[in-house]
């Protein structure tokens, strides 16, 4: 019970578990601890919601094609010419 008490009031540990849960698997004990903490801590609930939001947005960044970042045409032309030259060697 003592251990459980510790996590109930420990936001550092709870936020750690929130992060771990999103990227890996929690142990049964960790799941329980987190559930108990989250049920009673609105601050960590806010953190959790935002953390999930951030991860989703980060994934969007990495998966988006970002059409606005394209190479200058001159750079591309030079590069292809260089490749062609290498091919002729």
């Amino acid at each position: 019970m003592n251990d459980l008490n510790k996590i109930i009031y420990n936001c550092r540990k709870a936020t750690f578990l929130i992060e771990k849960k999103q990227l890996s698997r929690l142990t049964v004990r960790e799941q329980l601890e987190l559930r108990v903490h989250i049920a009673g801590c609105s601050i960590c609930r806010t953190f959790q919601r935002q953390s999930i939001l951030i991860n989703g947005q980060v994934r969007n960044i990495f998966q988006s094609r970002m059409p606005d970042s394209t190479l200058p045409e001159a750079f591309k032309k030079d590069l292809q010419e260089r490749i062609n030259k290498e091919l002729e060697k």
Partner: protein
């Protein structure tokens, strides 16, 4: 297999013909089409992972040149694009490794404890000044999402490079934790500490700057 291709490029007429039939089936390579087909995609791919336009340009170029050198090792098992992407990815990881190696790495890990000011040392409670508060807005349409991404990027750039490397590798290719630890030479325990610290800092930075 690729010897065949090289023979073809010696012949301008055949080269032209191959250019038209680049789309695969047998997974061949057509370096004379690389830039047109992949350069912008690879550039965007790199920019998303390394926020440095000049470096990204260099890496795209190096990827093609490295691909040329290894043409004879392209076995056609994967597509040309997958094969080149793997070369590029390794180059990006090399950059992460360089940026976060040695002194930087030591600093990034020892800083973890020093900066630990989000929570009370004794009971692990949020310090009142660090309470997460609701974001001013949610990025629920495309325009807002774009703004959100800009702020997120800026916030990421403030973090130690090792943290960014860990965070990016985990999220961008959803790599296994063990692989990331091995490539960046961090322990599993430090990996999770870094993930935690990164998110605490990013979240706080977003709350402050995304208004």
């Amino acid at each position: 297999m690729t010897g065949l291709h090289l023979a073809q490029t010696d012949n301008p007429a055949m080269q032209k013909e191959e250019g038209k039939t680049t789309t695969e089936k047998r997974n061949t390579t057509a370096p004379n089409q690389w830039v047109e087909q992949y350069a912008d995609y690879f550039y965007a791919y790199t920019i998303a992972r390394i926020n440095d336009e000049e470096l990204a340009r260099d890496l795209v170029q190096e990827t093609f040149l490295a691909g040329l050198e290894r043409l004879d090792r392209f076995e056609g098992k994967s597509t040309e694009r997958t094969w080149l992407t793997a070369i590029l990815r390794n180059k990006i990881v090399d950059v992460y490794r360089q940026r976060s190696s040695g002194l930087n790495n030591d600093n990034a890990i020892s800083n973890i404890d020093e900066q630990d000011d989000f929570f009370n040392a004794d009971d692990g409670h949020w310090k009142e000044t660090h309470y997460p508060k609701e974001f001013a807005r949610t990025p629920d349409d495309q325009l807002l999402a774009k703004e959100f991404h800009i702020v997120l990027r800026r916030c990421m750039n403030k973090l130690p490079s090792l943290w960014i490397a860990v965070f990016t590798m985990k999220h961008m290719d959803e790599l296994a934790t063990e692989n990331i630890c091995k490539e960046l030479k961090v322990t599993a325990a430090n990996f999770w500490v870094i993930v935690h610290r990164t998110k605490l800092n990013l979240r706080a930075c977003l709350q402050k700057n995304w208004t």
